[in-house]
């Protein structure tokens, strides 16, 4: 017993001493652009986080393998698992931010985004929150360092409502719409927009929160069975999505009337339910296949450099991760065009690049991205870039597109964004950016 105690004491002292050596001053090699990755490969949300992270890492490797980097500057990247927990995300951010003089962070978690929104501006690190994050951060006049590219939650909710409105031939008066949402900032994001639209269109909105992680939803679906809403919107993440679909099957709610946001309508959510989820539809902001997917297969997976399994390439969440990486890379490229081709960019320069993105059809075709994303262009006041998506529907084996690209209605969204952005600025005692600042 005494020897054990001695060993224990010695190991504790050693651990304490070694922790003093913990330091992250190792800067990336001078000639490499550092891209940190904050995925979650473990925990309750891993099934959905892993394909996204694989797509992200694969695209970065593709740029190195196919193009030799961004105008000759090679990309280096490092992953730090956040397990979808805010404090782990913050710790990962602190650890990785020291590795370069400014880099783009994409936390893939609304909770971590909120925390980093406070820290990133001070550290001069731009945040890309493509398809998630704060919906009001599309207002670049207040949120200088946030970039919710390719659609915020308000855009997404708006697109779903447009689709449903069209289905009902333009009249939603008196209809009942239920929102089954993940009880967290992520799930609550669409509520202001849906309430705004309810006022405009006269439908009845029923809010049904599901406590995280959303494993047991019997009570929610019993309520749906009682209320018999005309449509159910699913705003879940991770296991909540497949649990919701399974409960829908168990209570007999037709899956054809269920519509999910782009984070609730991907392969991991339905592959477990299989045939029973047939008819379930959801948003998707990316396209299929195309040259870039071919390139990834050729330059990355065929050379055994792929981050994940090869059959994952081209799935919904994988494409989303890939496009997110592409946006970051294009931001750096745009920055290099202005501040010096072939040089390593710092945070402020990358931010400028992201604010002046101009990915039109021609550009996208050159990069091979034309079938996987729509043209996007950002500006000082518009950090969203583009706000369109399609509906795809599960047929039991795969997803099929059931609509054209629908663009979100900015007439409803813009006033909401301004209202909430102004509120944020007032709380923080920030002033809106001046036009002069926009030109810098």
């Amino acid at each position: 017993m005494k020897l054990r105690q001695l060993v224990l004491a010695a190991s504790v002292v050693a651990a304490a001493a070694s922790s003093a050596l913990v330091s992250t001053a190792a800067f990336a090699q001078a000639k490499e652009q550092f891209f940190p990755v904050l995925p979650y490969r473990t925990g309750a949300y891993a099934p959905n986080g892993v394909p996204w992270a694989n797509g992200y890492s694969d695209y970065l490797r593709l740029i190195n393998a196919r193009d030799g980097g961004i105008n000759g500057v090679k990309i280096s990247s490092e992953e730090c698992d956040t397990a979808y927990a805010t404090d782990r995300g913050v710790e990962c951010y602190e650890r990785l931010k020291g590795k370069a003089k400014g880099s783009v962070f994409q936390p893939l978690s609304t909770g971590i985004t909120f925390a980093l929104t406070e820290k990133a501006p001070g550290d001069q690190n731009p945040l890309i929150t493509g398809g998630y994050g704060r919906s009001e951060s599309s207002d670049g006049g207040v949120f200088k360092w946030n970039f919710p590219l390719m659609g915020t939650y308000w855009s997404g909710a708006d697109i779903i409502m447009q689709f449903i409105t069209k289905k009902e031939n333009g009249n939603l008066k008196g209809k009942k719409i239920a929102l089954v949402y993940h009880d967290s900032p992520y799930g609550k994001e669409p509520i202001p927009l849906l309430q705004e639209r309810a006022k405009m269109q006269g439908y009845d909105l029923q809010l049904l929160p599901v406590t995280a992680p959303g494993v047991e939803q019997k009570a929610t679906w019993l309520q749906i069975r009682q209320a018999r809403p005309d449509y159910v919107l699913l705003w879940g993440w991770g296991v909540m999505n497949s649990a919701a679909l399974k409960e829908a099957v168990a209570t007999g709610y037709p899956r054809e009337k269920m519509y999910g946001v782009w984070w609730s309508a991907a392969e991991p959510d339905v592959k477990d339910v299989g045939e029973a989820a047939k008819g379930y539809s959801g948003l998707v902001a990316t396209g299929l296949g195309g040259k870039v997917i071919e390139d990834v297969k050729k330059f990355v997976h065929d050379k055994k450099q792929g981050t994940g399994p090869a059959d994952e390439v081209g799935t919904t969440l994988y494409n989303r991760g890939l496009v997110s990486a592409a946006l970051a890379v294009e931001g750096v490229r745009a920055a290099q065009d202005r501040f010096g081709k072939g040089k390593v960019m710092n945070g402020e320069q990358i931010r400028w690049g992201l604010e002046n993105l101009n990915m039109d059809e021609k550009n996208l075709k050159k990069l091979g991205l034309d079938s996987v994303m729509k043209p996007l262009s950002t500006s000082c006041l518009d950090h969203e870039g583009s706000r369109s998506a399609r509906m795809h529907s599960w047929d039991g084996k795969k997803w099929n597109y059931v609509s054209d690209w629908i663009e979100a209605d900015t007439s409803i969204i813009k006033p909401l964004v301004k209202q909430f952005a102004d509120k944020y600025a007032a709380e923080r005692k920030l002033t809106r950016r001046t036009p002069a600042d926009c030109q810098s």
Binding site: Q5, K188, P209
Partner: protein, 358 residues
């Protein structure tokens, strides 16, 4: 031989009753505090401060509060996360709704409301004992989780349900850079540490320990169980509430209720048990262990792996973290069930009688 109190004679009651009667202890603590205030700011880089030292300080404060309830008074509490949340949200509401209120006042108000909630959920402890009491504190945990998500008033009607603060100042100093945050948290911790140490060696502390050891016998000799247990809940919740407000304001800046989930409660309980129940020093040891260990594993395992030529994937790293964490906790409890504080006191005892074995 190093720790002898030979020759230290006390000539007044005041000297005898002081908080650190042995001169070595006194000097040791003073040097430690001086080191923390004066030397660490120069030795630690920004990452160390932001990711390790500041969380350590705040969680040590919370562990202190939990130790008072679990270690000194023997009431198992699995709801400390909820009390932290109450402290954080009460301080937030105070800060946002009362213009110009000083930061310290907001933190103390947060602690006060946490006290009220703690006393309320501590009432079942008068009837329910042992493991069954854990359900009362878990009820507090889940209720608070729900309340802060559902009741918009608590988050100042923000659309997404997150609360955030910025531009903190105290006594005219800004609290924005990591160094300022570190000094602020350190000061709060030192103040509360001294207060807690004095409480537990006073009458009320002895009452708590009597209740912990044998509550029926304590009641027989005249200690009122209600007063003792509820005061333990009150003091513990106050400290935990202030720690929660610090965690939200200083460390996170912008938070959601999930930051104070049941995992946080378990983490605090781990700190108390690993550090040593019923020991103030133990709370600090436990907090240091729990804060540093996952990060150390995360940083050193890839290095070890590269030495042997194995690349450790991020998922494997997190899993390894969990495995090592769990295994270490179990090993610890087998080897030293009384925690790190017991190791420390054994060490001191050895120093006292060195070179003799006992």
């Amino acid at each position: 031989m190093f720790y002898r109190e030979n020759g230290q004679f006390k000539t007044s009651y005041k000297a005898d009753q002081q908080i650190f009667p042995i001169a070595q202890d006194r000097w040791g603590v003073l040097i430690l505090i001086a080191f923390a205030f004066l030397a660490v700011p120069f030795l630690a880089d920004e990452y160390m401060m932001r990711a390790i030292l500041i969380p350590f300080l705040i969680l040590a404060l919370a562990a202190l509060g939990v130790n008072i309830l679990v270690g000194y008074c023997g009431q198992i509490s699995l709801g400390s996360g909820a009390f932290m949340a109450v402290g954080a949200y009460a301080a937030f509401n105070c800060w946002v709704r009362l213009e110009g209120i000083p930061l310290i006042a907001a933190l103390l108000v947060g602690g006060f409301f946490a006290t009220l909630v703690g006393i309320f959920f501590g009432i079942p402890s008068l009837r329910v004992k042992g493991l069954y009491l854990s359900v009362a504190t878990l009820a507090a945990q889940f209720f608070c989780d729900w309340a802060f998500l559902r009741i918009n008033w608590f988050t100042n009607n923000s659309a997404s349900g997150t609360a955030s603060v910025s531009n903190l100042t105290a006594f005219g100093f800004d609290i924005v850079t990591p160094l300022q945050k570190y000094i602020f948290c350190l000061s709060v911790l030192v103040v509360f540490g001294v207060l807690a140490k004095n409480l537990v060696r006073g009458a009320i502390g002895r009452e708590w320990m009597a209740i912990r050891d044998m509550d029926v016998a304590a009641a027989v000799i005249g200690i009122r169980p209600m007063y003792a247990k509820l005061s333990a809940f009150a003091v513990s919740s106050f400290i935990v509430g202030v720690a929660g407000a610090l965690w939200a304001f200083i460390h996170l800046g912008s938070w959601e209720p999930a930051a104070f989930s049941v995992d946080r409660s378990f983490q605090l309980l781990f700190m108390v048990i690993l550090g040593g129940m019923g020991s103030i020093m133990g709370s600090f040891f436990g907090a240091a262990f729990i804060v540093v260990l996952p990060i150390a594993i995360n940083i050193f395992l890839p290095l070890l792996g590269s030495l042997v030529g194995i690349e450790v994937s991020t998922a494997a790293l997190t899993h390894a973290e969990q495995i090592i964490f769990g295994a270490l906790i179990v090993w610890f409890l087998i080897v030293e069930p009384h925690g790190l504080a017991k190791l420390w006191s054994v060490g001191k005892q050895k120093m006292r009688v060195w070179p003799f074995p006992h």
